[in-house]
Symmetry: C2
Subunit: 231 residues, 2 copies
Amino acid sequence: MYSSANVSERQGQAPSLAISTVIFALRTDAASDRSEIWLPLVRRIRQPHLGRWALPGGPLDGRESLQDAAARNLRETTGLEPTYLEQLYAFGGLDRSATQRLVSIVYWALVRPDQADLAQESENVRWFRASDVVGLAFDHDEIVAYALERLRGKIEYGSVAYHFLGDRFTLAQLRGVYEAVLGRHLDPANFRRQLRSAKDIAATDEVLQGGRNRPPRLYRYTGPHAGRPPS
Amino acid sequence: MYSSANVSERQGQAPSLAISTVIFALRTDAASDRSEIWLPLVRRIRQPHLGRWALPGGPLDGRESLQDAAARNLRETTGLEPTYLEQLYAFGGLDRSATQRLVSIVYWALVRPDQADLAQESENVRWFRASDVVGLAFDHDEIVAYALERLRGKIEYGSVAYHFLGDRFTLAQLRGVYEAVLGRHLDPANFRRQLRSAKDIAATDEVLQGGRNRPPRLYRYTGPHAGRPPS
DNA sequence: CTTGTTAGAGTCAGGATGACTATAACTCAT
DNA sequence: ATGAGTTATAGTCATCCTGACTCTAACAAG
């Protein structure tokens, strides 16, 4: 038995506070040539849930802001710097962990495909298709599901989609992001029309050469570049 | 000096975790007959910020879920049971409190006017117009501003407006809620048309008697009754 | 019974949306 | 070189939603 703590023993203790981060990246499936959402998970190297996959995270250090701690999760598991990082939700149910009362403040990040290709994989860090994750440690299954739900909600309204892509992108690539997140096909012509009226996207004078069809024009995102609400 | 703690001394300590709650209620201004957003604040009875007004809240007890702690804030300051209670944001900046590293998970609640009339006021609990609050303890000015912003965002999209009202209400009353939150005039005819297509609102066969004009029909909200996302 | 006020229905033009068609520009196989 | 296949990009058209507005109904107060 890895712990003798039970509910009555830990009633008086102050809850532990941890930060976790859901890191979403876009990967293009080589076979179908369609974009998909992936995320990195880390293998737990201690009890509870030893050996199972979990969201990157750890206890909150007294010297760090919440946002900084989430950025550190991102850096330590993938080697990447955050381009989009926002608070998702604070999870604090009584039965989240068998060994202690644990409150987790969860952030979510978006990284670009060129960054995701650089990210290290190892024995204890591996990338998974977001639609495949199941059987994670703690309540992390539900947290990932909730993060995907929020991602879907945000992409319709706001400006998150661009943060999945590099600074130059084609409209077909951007449409691929929307289709991957929303899970449905979008009409290319109508998609184009909508984005011409979107004000923080601008056409460049370059086109993407090297494809097997008519070369598409490259676009640029000119809006605000990071999502950081209050501190 | 109420504390000798400084930044370097508290670097190693685990952050304290507290729950606070922003409680919004609707009050009808007798003079202009227009609805306004009010909220109760409590006077601090200890350092830091002794004597200043602050959001109701306190440290998180190990036995309570986050939601339960927020409901307790509501109950203890107003005597009310929650009808709408949702997590707002977790604030964890390094300089929120001068005496300790403090992480606050903030909830927001909506209460109906009939409930707000029952709520006790006292020497240390008083209601304020939301647009007037300034000079609160800690960073609570910003928290209230952020809560109002979220309220505005949610009311356009979702079903929060009904939770400000009783189980029977006229369309003029509901429009008053929207106008108070959004801060602008809405056309009565267009507002009516939109709500006829809203599916979780149903007309009753009753009308409100006693006014000085044509008696308006009463409506009922039939959708889900509380906002509780994950735990 | 007239006046003032709100309730509630209806009209109309403009803008956005989804489905669809047509043409342009490129690569590749023959 | 030429035609087939594919994507880029523009345009059309009917429908729905929205804001501004008009009109009538139903009450209270004088």
